[in-house]
Amino acid sequence: MSLLEVKNLHASVAGKEILKGITLTLEPGSVHAIMGPNGTGKSTLSNVIAGREGYEVTKGEVLLDGKDVLAMEADERARAGIFLAFQYPVEIPGVTTSAFLKTALNAKRRAAGQPEIDAMEFLKLVKAKTAVLGMPYDMIKRALNVGFSGGEKKRAEVLQMTMLEPRVAILDETDSGLDIDALKVVSEGVNSLRSPDRAFLVITHYQRLLDYIVPDYVHVLANGRVVASGGKELALQLEAEGYAKYLNTAA
Amino acid sequence: MNALAILDHSFGETYAKRLGVAPWSGALPGPKVEEWRFTPLRALAKVPFVPAPVDAAIGSIPGNVPTIPGAARLVLVNGAYRKDLSDANLGKGVEISQGKVPAKEGSSLVALNAAYAPASLAVHVSGAAKKIIHIISIGAAASTPAALHPRITVTAENGSAITLVESHVGLPGQAYFSNPVTSITVGEGASVRRYVSVDETNEAFHLATTLVKVSGGGHFEAFHLGLGGALTRQEIRIALTGENAEVRLNGAYALSGHSHHDFTTVMDHQVPHCSSSQVFKGVAGGESRGVYQGRIHVARDAQKTDARQLHKALFLSRGPQIDCKPELEIYADDVQCAHGATTGEIDPNHMFYLAARGIDPDTARRLLIEGFLAESMDDISELAVREQFGAALTAWLARYGTAQP
């Protein structure tokens, strides 16, 4: 069975149709990249899969392990294994990254019928994971994303991903606002999570990120539809030629 | 209960007879009335005011009235419109008339005004007015203390635009009590700018009420300056009644001697998607007292309201008192509301910095005070007014701003 299936997905925001029939199939272990110009529905796709309010699905389905994702609440989807790395991670004043992570981790563990993680074990785990990601451990004592630089925010997203071990990780423009060093660190973090039973959906505007996170498949999204699919060479082709020809055919 | 002695005994029955209304039987708010806790009216209640003569002889307009170039000039003396002193060349889009005073329910001061105002000066705006309308209210008591009740009604039709300047001044001599009421209706998409300067004589009492209704898409910009008077209160109540209405209400006061000045504002957000901002600044020297009370009310359904309010006061000497009560009353959740308030004196570090640049202390003080007050005046979009009001403050500072603490 495929891990994540998006079938003929139509979605609109405030009555305006943004996604006009998207079909994607993610097999376990695969990395799919979604590329496309701004305003073609890339972020809408990630938000609809993750279950953000304000998007109306008018047609189609999304299945995770064959289960209907669209019938689940956002938190259920997350516990079922869908992880969205946000383009703009929100700041939550007063809540430390550590407290946040622990709460999220325990929510997942409870849902899986596992006992809550004890404080010592949790700290050990965070220490190990931050070390792997080359993050200063002290970062987890700071309020979540508050006063974080762009790079720190994205690293914190990857840290969460590492801790929560999702089935499907969606990276929404994770490269935006990152310098090359931060991009490398974040990509290495993502690559270390690649595994035969996990799939990635990497949404990006630029090919640059895909030098570091090498995809198995590349899809071009334009005007709410997948207008081309191919291997990683498609990304290079886009880099050279631009999106112009897809915009014309889509119009 | 909770009220001081009423004033009707001294107001005589002349007005009442002429207007065909019963003598005012209300009472002035007493010290236990929450909205008046910082502004006691004891001193006012002691003065046996008589109705001010509506035909008082006026030689010339007092010198402290700002000159607004090109503005039409409407003069009220003791509340009565004086054609002989006015220049009612209004230009297109504006008409004036004298109407009956609406006997609407309101605060006791509005009721007092309604009972005794000689007539209402009605300004009707039907289009984009070309000229600024400058209304000058002069208080002139003869040989005995007198009370006046100016009444102004402004109606700006949908889509119209007008700029008003209101100056409240008086003739030297006996104490007078001015109790003006201005009602303003801002129609849909209309734009009203109103700039008020209160610079009464040192013996005068001035308790003004402004009632504003702003309809959908309407803009209301106001600035109030408070300079003189023994006791001045400028109460401004604004209701935002249509979506996308916008209000900018700013003010400044500068007090010396035993002046008491009170800004009381009520910003009533009744519907969603409106915004309001308020910046009030004050400086107080001598033994004066500055008061700011501002309430922002956001009704249950008024989602997406953006309402802000700021009051900052500066002491210029040892002796004044500053009282401030910024109030938020919020019944809708999806709103952005905030207020801030500070009191203090001129930052010694700033003084030192200026001294280190070779500026003498008096100049430095004036500079810093002007800079402090400027924040409230920068939003005055009518440049002529900004200049005139700025000049009035500069003159005030030249007189009182250098007093050492």
Binding site: R52, E73, V90, A99 | L328, Y331, H339, G344
Partner: protein, 483 residues
Amino acid sequence: MVATRETAAAVRDVEQYKYGFVTDIESDKAPKGLSEDIIRFISAKKNEPEWMLEWRLKAYRYWLTLADEEPTWAKLHFPKIDYQASYYYAAPKREKLASLDEVDPKLLETYKKLGIPLLEQQMLAGVAVDAVFDSVSVATTYKKKLEEMGVIFMPISEALQKHPELVKKYLGSVVPYSDNFYATLNCAVFTDGSFVYIPKGLRCPMELSTYFRINEKNTGQFERTLIIADEGSYVSYLEGCTAPQRDENQLHAAVVELIALDDAEIKYSTVQNWYPGDADGKGGIFNFVTKRGACRGKNSKIMWTQVETGSSITWKYPSCILQGDNSVGEFYSVAITNNRQQADTGTKMIHLGKGTRSKIISKGISAGRADNTYRGLVRMGPKADGARNYTQCDSLLIGDKCGAHTVPYIESRNPTATTEHEATTSKISDDQLFYCLQRGMKQEEAVSLIVNGFCKEVLQTLPMEFAVEAQKLVGISLEGSVG
């Protein structure tokens, strides 16, 4: 949102207020109602000195003149209280105890259920507890150890017997009998409470704690707490409150007086979790409390922290009178109202001395159909040269049926004093909520987390033992508020 509705419904079904049980214990009650006879009865029951009775009667007679002066300025709506319908004295029988071992096992069980073990071997290390059950103190732990250090920590009724000179000197010196309607009533009828005296120079190594419990039906609780920190001393004092779940409203009108002498510091923390009434506003405690501290000495400090989650009505303004030069007052508050609860709470910082400083951090959270008001006064007196105040009031609204209000009074008569006040009102942002949900948290859990973050600045001032409880309480108080 289907799941949210289900969660909310599930939460409503379970017993929300876990302290709502009643202890079936025989009690000794004075007849219902209020009169000079009742006051004489209370005073006699406590074997009080004559001056104490006189003071009570003076307060009572004054109170009678206040019949029309029950405060109405707060943003609170409640039916008129019939002061003759309450019992003013209720005590568990067998009150004279030689040691803790003689405490009625039912009482011990009650406090155990409340998480307050009174037997020393089970006790929280480092916390001495005075347990007040209805009108009387039933147990004070770690008494001996404290005595050795010179700390007096005992029920105020006992202090009147053993240290009458101290009580006489300070009682009513911060909150006089004529202070306000509820405080005056308290002066007339208070039955017990805690008395604390910390001797010169001692940093009390233990947290002192009083746990208040209303058990009896139709009983008002009127406790009186008096804490004196002598020169150079320090004490941290905790107060907790619960009451059974009942359909009738019950009255709680306490008075707390704190006195800090030169260089002394008092930290007073409250977690108030009286029964809040049910979702429709039936029942619950009417909490009218006068708490005031006097920083009498130079460099003294009083710090109030309160977490107010219970009561159907809260009327409470823990204040500081900053008399001593360079004294410091701080007020940290979290007030949560849900369902039909109403809170009008805040502080007064009265700056009299030179160089005095105060800080106010208030976090109000309103949910359901509740109203939550911050009301505060900062006053800079003419002699308070160089005084400073900083105030930050933030309100959070959860849902569109509640209200959040901020009513600060700032009065300054000193040019060299500075005041700074900021207030904001907002809601939990959809983005924050979605972010948490996307990480797998349930809505209730996400709200609790975000609100705890919102309150953090206040919660972190609580002693450790209380902080954890308070955090949980924040979550519990808001259950059913989103959806």
